[in-house]
Symmetry: D2
Subunit: 360 residues, 4 copies
């Protein structure tokens, strides 16, 4: 596989997450520049003319045209990996069909997240959940999902301190950015000088998905964590970056330094050297007023991992209550970047390779 | 006292809360249009030229000049009531001196809020705390404080359901508006496209003040509520109206309807017919996405009570956890209006009257 | 007609301008509370559940249901006046059909604005253009349009000084609010921390419509003003209120005081005492930093005329160039209120009356 | 001088422009990392703790401490170049004193901009104005100023087409960002949901400074351009990037293609290969809705020249009126970057060199 990059495609390339996929895959060491797949409505348009991000489109993709393609089209063209930014509802069948046809899917869509045999993956947290796949005979193609955008930052912050605290319950209130709703998404008149204390199905997703990700694997199944995660979800007028106020009611009483060390030394992927893995994955800030969406959304090193770190701050430990804020970039760490990292992990651990007929 | 209105003054009339005081007292049935007292820096300026609210200044005060006046000046001029929007630190001595000289003070400042003999008052919630004063020989002048802007909405929402739930702990996360920091307050570069997860001393105030307000009076003292109120405080880019996400862990299990009825029927001041008392004080909304700062900040009827109601919505009751959002106008219900209502209650219950040589 | 109010309907009642119509007509001295007509998509919904304005919906219309109705339905129900907030393209045929069937139409839509026999009316500026109608045998029903939202404020500001200056050319740059695009309108991601220097067809409308409104009537036609009005149109992140920077290159050289007097004494409708006519229609501000959308959008007295005045400020006269800013509420003065005022003028001048008793 | 970098200092390093200087000089091929000079109020603080930009502080300067230093201190320490972000009023004497003591000053401050012997420089436009200096015996140290933030983008856009159009008058309306007022600058309550149509002295600066920059050099003096530049200046709620709507009334009638070519081929510094010079300096966009502050503020290549290009768009040529929008980053192209580029030009053309070896 050395020096040869896999062919890939972005499903839903016209949307906001699709464009972040394009940004991150335009020049990736493991993947060729992606095919841009979209619905017929966008077919034939240049990526550049649909572009919605503040950053300019990648030069090598700005003039690329969006195509409409079926799963069989993609399989026939030898696509190895599909990155899915499809809307819920649409994603289920398309993604299943792709896998059947030998195309591995790394999906940001919600449809398959709770499927028993599909890993809901945050590599730093539950890489062992890939065993839902690996335990079976090695597949030609796999399906891996990443969680909801506000779940990712939360579980990254909880995982390092989970054992130290043995939580009884977790309370979360979110300050979610506009891009979480995609484009066109939130009308400006709905949010200017306003906060909207409701995001459809978000609180349920946070509860179910974090229970699954923080659950224990037993052989080829995952036993969800029994700790309830109770969320209030609200939309605020920031462009990117989901901020979350977290209170953990703990049943153990570690020292504050132990908690800080747990966060700062957390780096389970370190040895794999994945291109998009932030090092460290959690940045702990000690200023009184951080993390902030404006300043911390792009946290993450090296350059390729910008936007992939979760930033934890304002830690207050008054046992049994641990309170802190965590911020992560919803469209990167909680969206496109999540699936890119999932794919890198799958590739590095040998779960996927170049598509049909290829020998390594 | 009939038909005669008390003379009054606003301390700190140049600031944002001071201007809301001016708005609410410009044409008040119990009080004469206020004297506008400010620091020497603002002395001689017209209220209109300092005006920062979106609404125009009251016509009868727009050209009124701000004066610098000492407590003894105000006492000498026969001022009966002073509404204080003084900054913390400055307020303590000035307010004490005014009371000593026979001027009753209704204060939005923090300095005296935790004083044992000073009521920290939200009339609908703890009117009986006025007994901290009334138990003593009837004073010529009194000092009453109102709580911090985010505490007021919270205790209004908690009070009606407090007995039904018998809370074990209360968790709050706030979405506080720009005006909570006064003017000039938050720099635009600090908050545009941003959330700042820190407001100095706010979380402590919410905890201490709500414990005191929800505490039980025993004779002439208040025993604070033992239920911890744990807050995350954050600033968002809304102009006015503090939104709060509240989770109550309850030890009792009423039916949802009981909770809703408790909120909707809550109106302990009804018979007093105070001009600025909202009727009802709590508006319960059943839409999926309310309350919102933009739309609900001015809740409260009749017209004089605009901005005085707390709006509760998104109620979810999954025992033992009750979750909801509450919104109240920080500068009205949580600021100027709070002290105006306190003064109305004091006047109606005979605690204060006209200053000079009073005969009723 | 005394004491009897006309029946009326709002076309496009679900939209942003439609809702401002509802707000202004809910309790109007000349009109009954309106029927709320919308497309089938909104049929059967309550106005309250579709409500998008920051102010609460009028109490007597909040629970009114939107209906789908054809022109003949409305004519049959005896509707005398239809206020049209229909989208361009849809408006043309519906409005024509209504007039044919005896229903007078007061339209905010663009479709008929440039029709030779249809007045494009700003009552304070070109009430005489109603002669396009009156010169013909008195019609059973009439069609009157109001201009584009940014044109209205501009011509109001230009009209009083037009003769004094005898302009050679007028330059305008606009700062237009979000509500100018209706709801959902501008996506929040497109405008947060941004300005969009383009509004489709807006510059053309400003040029053509102001030429027509400021044109001279000759018998039953209007000769457009030959003075070019050159606009730059941009969208900024304000909720309501269009601000415009205006430079007039003059061929005459009046004194500054003459210009100020012309604006301040301008009140051609004064004697008609129309309910929604602001008195005065132009508010001239002398502060260095006004008008501002936040503070001046609701200018206009009495209460019913809130949002109907144009606010002129920052006047600089360095001959031959007169520079100033003007602000007007795009959805009121430049939208719903414009047509309400047009209808009031038509009714007071006898152009329209009650429909009942008329036979089709 | 080869391979040896000059020592430099930033004056006013705690402010917004000062921080952009730090960002641009932290790793510059011509200059050593700068000393950070500030007032005594900031003395001893780390740059990182004062940091206000959205981007993180440069790693090698984040922990650098701000110092209070007099001109003689800086001269004694062998500083060759001082980049001045001092406030108006303070700048005049400090900058003069530095030059007297042998330290060259590249200043963003207004104080010396109109001095007869001080170049007011935009290198692409009037590099020949350096002759105000060079004509004299080669100085040990020089003083060069850059224009006001909104002037820079304007003259960059005008210069390439100036001769083709031979303007009679230029009209400008600005949409200026929050950072133009520095930090803390504009209070959030003053600008949220608002536009402020006034920026003190800005319109005068645009007129005078553009006349000077576009003026003709005659020997050692500059004859200002006689073409009036009439501006309306307004503040909008964008973080960075000044947008300007420009109308040129021309006396000549080139073809549109000539104008476009003039802009696109404009690159007078090309051969000098200055590190911070954007190539090309003007980006001409043909989309209907560009330039936009959010998307175009960081225009400019290569990486070091990000934020240094002016972006021209929405060009409409209806003779004699040319209309377009231009956007430039006020704090980079119109602030810190302007003086960095001036210094690079001065150094490359031999006007300045290293200070060491020079005797005081």
């Amino acid at each position: 596989m050395k020096n040869e990059r896999l062919t890939c495609a972005i499903l839903g390339a016209s949307g906001y997450i699709g464009q972040h996929f394009a940004r991150m895959l335009a020049d990736h060491p493991y993947f060729e520049p992606p095919l841009l797949v979209a619905s017929e409505r966008s077919e034939g348009k240049r990526l550049g003319e649909l572009w919605q991000l503040a950053e300019p489109p990648p030069e090598n993709l700005a003039d690329a045209k969006l195509i409409a393609a079926t799963p069989s089209d993609l399989a026939r063209q030898g696509v190895s990996a599909a990155f899915s930014a499809l809307p819920s509802g649409t994603a289920r069948d398309v993604e299943s069909e792709l896998v059947r046809r030998g195309v591995s899917v790394f999906s940001n869509a919600a449809d398959h997240r709770m499927d028993a045999r599909v890993p809901l993956l945050v590599p730093e947290v539950n890489a062992d959940h890939l065993a839902l796949i690996t335990a079976r005979p090695r597949p030609r193609s796999i399906l891996v999902t990443n969680p909801n955008c506000s779940t990712t930052g939360l579980v990254l912050a909880l995982a390092p301190v989970d054992r130290l605290l043995a939580p009884r319950v977790v309370h979360v209130a979110t300050y979610q950015s506009l891009s979480g709703a995609g484009y066109p998404g939130v009308p400006s008149l709905a949010i200017t000088d306003n906060v909207v204390p409701f995001i459809r199905e978000e609180e349920e997703k946070i509860r179910e998905e974090s229970a699954r990700i923080l659950g224990r694997r037993r052989a080829h199944t995952v036993v969800p964590s029994p700790v309830p995660v109770l969320a209030h979800c609200a939309r605020v007028a920031t462009r990117e970056g989901h901020l979350e106020a977290v209170t953990v009611e703990a049943t153990r009483r570690p020292r504050l330094e132990e908690l800080e060390t747990a966060w700062e030394s957390f780096d389970p992927l370190h040895d794999l050297d994945l291109p998009t893995a932030p090092c460290p994955p959690i940045e702990l800030r000690r200023e009184p007023d951080r993390p902030q969406p404006l300043r911390d959304r792009w946290a993450g090193r090296p350059v390729r991992a910008r936007g992939m770190a979760a930033v934890v701050g304002r830690v207050r430990w008054t046992p049994p209550y641990l309170r802190f804020f965590v911020l992560s970039h919803n469209a990167v760490r909680g969206g496109a970047g999540a699936s890119v990292l999932n794919a890198e992990l799958a590739l590095r651990t040998g779960l996927i390779g170049r598509a049909e007929g290829e020998t390594e």
